[in-house]
């Protein structure tokens, strides 16, 4: 405790209490990593995800002492807001310790052991950065960066994150996005994989009264797992979380996506739209959950998963979940998996397009729809601002 600042008795107590709470949380966190088991077939959050194969393989490399092999580049109009992650930054490390996962505590624990790579963005209060901030991580070996984004009240920014893996490379990124009251943040993540490349992302979106739009796209990885946890802790008018995803899965690729939309407090809105086009021997897994906690009344939460299956060998597992413990909630989810609509194919081919091209056109449009909705929503809040 710092007594140099002439704190009143109450303030000192409050500070001490907050510190004790944090310490308890950190202790619980380290206990969590000690207790956690590498995901196995009894781990419900890895259902259909073949943990014995993928989680174990990832854990194996993380446990080795292979040094980080990766590069970071950042494009930002305001260089003040960008800071590289430093291995010595204990305060920042704590933020990772406290992050939730979806069944992958053990893997997060292994990630923390390699803490020291990545980018911190500190977006200042009531400041808008007009040009998109572009972060690129690249690796040809094993890379485990941490992206920390703090959007102070009223901050506005658009962030693009690109992850690029060379053949056989592995990238495991942990992303922590804090959005304060009145902030407006759009984050898009594009995964660019190669032959036999693997990636995993654990993303936590902490919304304290702002608006956040999040988009992910995947192409090319042999195996990819996304855990996205979006939580509303405080709500003011216009508080919302939107999650979008558009992915193309082909070859023998597996994309394993997990989302949680958690409303700790009422009066906010969350929406999710995840779309997959699955071709060849590809497998798409979507497991989403909306949780409206007790007392989080007047919540609107929606979740939609749409899958197009292009080949007779394609596979989709869709697990859209709801857990509603509050009243006055508007909540729904939908999941649909089907081949390309024959009527649409017929219509396009009747105009002279080949069947293959027609299928390609339709699936591209199917995915673009998700990206367009993300951009449209962002442009709208960005230009009109949040309601007062």
């Amino acid at each position: 405790m710092d007594f140099s600042q002439n704190l009143s008795m109450e303030e000192a107590f409050a500070l001490a209490e907050a510190e004790a709470k944090l310490n308890a949380a950190l202790q619980a966190a380290s206990q969590r990593f000690n207790d956690a088991k590498i995901p196995d077939r009894y781990n419900e959050d890895w259902r259909f995800g073949q943990p014995a194969k993928h989680a174990v393989a990832l854990a194996e490399i993380l446990k080795t002492n292979v040094p980080a092999r990766g590069s970071i580049s950042v494009k930002c109009a305001d260089s003040e807001v960008v800071m590289p992650v430093s291995a010595e930054d204990d305060e920042l490390k704590e933020t990772v310790n406290l992050m939730p996962t979806i069944g992958s505590d053990a893997l997060l624990g292994l990630h923390i052991r390699r803490f020291g790579e990545g980018i911190c963005l500190m977006l200042e209060e009531n400041t808008e950065i007009k040009q998109p901030i572009i972060i690129t991580y690249e690796t040809d070996g094993l890379y485990t960066p941490y992206t920390f984004i703090m959007a102070a009240p009223g901050a506005k920014a658009r962030i693009e994150e690109h992850h690029k893996c060379a053949d056989g490379a592995t990238m495991f990124c942990v992303r922590n996005i804090h959005v304060m009251e009145g902030a407006q943040i759009a984050v898009e993540l594009h995964e660019h994989g190669s032959i036999d490349s693997r990636c995993m992302n654990i993303t936590d979106i902490h919304n304290l009264g702002g608006a956040v739009q999040h988009f992910t796209s995947h192409a090319g990885h042999a195996w990819a797992r996304e855990e996205t946890i979006a939580e509303v802790y405080a709500a003011s008018p216009g508080t919302s979380i939107e999650l979008y995803s558009a992915n193309r899965i082909s070859g023998n690729s597996v994309l394993d996506q997990h989302t949680h939309q958690i409303h700790h407090i009422g009066g906010a809105k969350s929406n999710l739209l995840y779309k997959n086009v699955v071709d060849e021997n590809g497998t798409a897994i979507f497991a989403g959950n909306i949780r409206v906690e007790a007392g989080a009344h007047c919540t609107d939460a929606y979740q939609t998963n749409r899958n197009l299956l292009l080949s007779e060998k394609s596979t989709v597992h869709s697990l859209p979940g709801l857990e509603i413990l509050a009243d006055k909630v508007r909540c729904s989810h939908g999941s649909a998996s089907s081949p390309v609509d024959e009527e649409a194919l017929f219509y396009l081919t009747s105009r002279g397009v080949s069947r293959a091209n027609a299928q390609e056109l339709i699936s591209t449009g199917f995915l673009e729809d998700a990206y367009n909705k993300f951009r449209k929503s962002f442009d709208e809040t960005y230009t009109s601002g949040l309601p007062d």
């Binding site: 909630v329 508007r330 939908g334």
Partner: protein, 466 residues
């Protein structure tokens, strides 16, 4: 409590004193199984079969991917695995206290069943009705007996299908049932025979069929059609009870089976039932299921669509009150091309009740032209009630379409105001709205069941709001 008196509480639960001739005691061991086999006079192969199932039961873990947390509280050591009255009941309907009779009337329980439930002469008048019906069925070649008799008298039909739809190792509770089963029905309907009257469980209910581990096997031969109805209100046992039945249906080519359940066990009953049907080419299986009672229900009627163009349907209503978890749902396994299935589930959570939908739809590799449509709607009555939806949908290949929609809603305040403005009390308005919510599904139940269902809902609403 005096042995001869009845206990009744406001929600229409009631109990009668236990007086069993056969009681295998608590816990399940090889000795328990020997006791059951001796009491039932079973052949050696069955004794061995049960013991093998017991070993498997002991070795298997509790389900994780497919189970609510409440299952952890279940203590297998505190369960009695075999109870049978064995003696004729001793009361007249006239002796039954008036308040019990009134409860039955309020519930609209059919008369034969009232008498049975009150512990009055298990055979009652139903013996005659049963015999008349038996005679008519016999003429058509229909077999309708309890499972013990079925295994004894019709081993050649029963045994080939026994444990084929739901294998011993399907899950821990399946192994449990294979080890400890008693009671339940065995039904065989021959080729082309279409039964117009539904077969009702209560016609042949005797003390044994109340057994907590009933085993039912229904075989509809090619082109046969039948509807089977089971359950209704059941007595409250003095101790927490595990009800873990296994129901297997086999619909051969072109056959149709409808299985109707209205479950209203007392709230100290764990209701863990495995129901699965096998639908062959052009066959149809429909589960029409309503769960109102029991403290923890885990029940997911399934159809394995094994033949081309087979159809499966689950219509499910559940109502969860304070202290209840209704974990219900459906499973559709598309194991043949051009098969179609439909799931409609509606749940109502009242007070601190919790209703969950758990489902599986699986279109296996190479099965083209399959269709599934799933709709789950949940209604929350109070700020403390809870609802969950946990579907798992797997689709292989590019020639099938699967669709799932779920929604959560509350009773609209404007609607309640409108109904109240016309003079209905808040409880009446609420009960009307709730009945409206499930109206399209209630229509699927046979008349007397749907009447009982509506009355049960009215009672629940009166108690929670009135």
């Amino acid at each position: 409590m005096d042995e001869s008196t009845f206990q009744i509480d406001t929600r229409g639960e009631f109990s009668f004193p236990e007086n069993h001739k056969f009681d295998a005691g608590f816990g399940l061991t090889e000795a328990t199984i020997d006791y059951i086999c001796d009491a039932k006079g079973e052949p050696d192969w069955l004794r061995e079969f049960r013991k093998d199932a017991l070993r498997k039961f002991n070795a298997m873990p509790m389900p994780t991917h497919w189970a609510p947390e409440g299952i952890k509280d279940l203590d297998f050591e505190k369960i009695r695995y075999y109870l049978a009255h064995g003696t004729a009941p001793y009361k007249d309907w006239e002796e039954v206290p008036d308040d019990v009779k009134r409860t039955f009337e309020r519930l609209g329980v059919p008369e034969q069943e009232r008498a049975f439930l009150a512990g009055v002469d298990a055979q009652y008048d139903s013996e005659t009705a049963y015999n008349n019906m038996q005679e008519e069925l016999r003429k058509k070649g229909v077999i309708f007996v309890n499972s013990t008799e079925g295994l004894k008298e019709y081993e050649h039909i029963f045994r080939p299908w026994f444990g084929k739809v739901i294998p011993v190792t399907d899950n821990k509770f399946s192994a449990l049932n294979h080890a400890a089963f008693s009671g339940g029905s065995f039904i065989y309907v021959p080729k082309g025979v279409k039964l117009e009257q539904p077969l009702q469980a209560y016609f042949r209910i005797n003390s044994e069929s109340m057994g907590q581990f009933e085993r039912t096997l229904i075989i509809a031969d090619e082109g046969a059609e039948l509807m089977y109805m089971e359950g209704c209100t059941a007595p409250k046992y003095d101790s927490a009870t595990l009800h873990s039945g296994v129901v297997e249906l086999v619909a051969l080519k072109g056959a149709k089976i409808q299985y109707v359940t209205v479950q209203n066990w007392a709230t100290n009953v764990y209701n863990l039932v495995i129901q699965r049907g096998l639908a062959m080419e052009d066959a149809e299986i429909r589960w029409i299921d309503c769960n109102i009672g029991s403290g923890l229900t885990m029940k997911y009627p399934a159809v394995v669509l094994k033949g081309r163009r087979a159809r499966g349907e689950v219509v499910s209503i559940s109502l969860a009150h304070d202290g209840q978890l209704q974990d219900t749902g459906a499973r559709m396994i598309h194991a043949a091309p051009e098969t179609s299935s439909n799931i409609v589930a509606k749940s109502i959570s009242i007070g601190k009740g919790r209703a969950s939908y758990r489902g599986e739809v699986n279109v296996l590799k190479g099965m083209n032209g399959c269709r599934n449509n799933t709709e789950c709607d949940a209604l929350l009555i109070s700020a403390e009630s809870r609802t969950d939806t946990y579907p798992a949908i797997s689709v292989n290949g590019n020639a099938s379409a699967v669709q799932h929609e779920a929604s959560v809603s509350q009773v609209d305040e404007e609607m309640l105001f409108y109904l109240q403005q016309r003079g209905l009390t808040r409880a009446q308005a609420m009960s009307l709205a709730v009945n409206g919510f499930i109206n399209d599904l209630v229509k699927e139940f046979p008349m007397e069941y749907s009447v009982e269902l509506r009355r049960l809902i009215d009672l629940e609403m009166e108690d929670s709001i009135g």
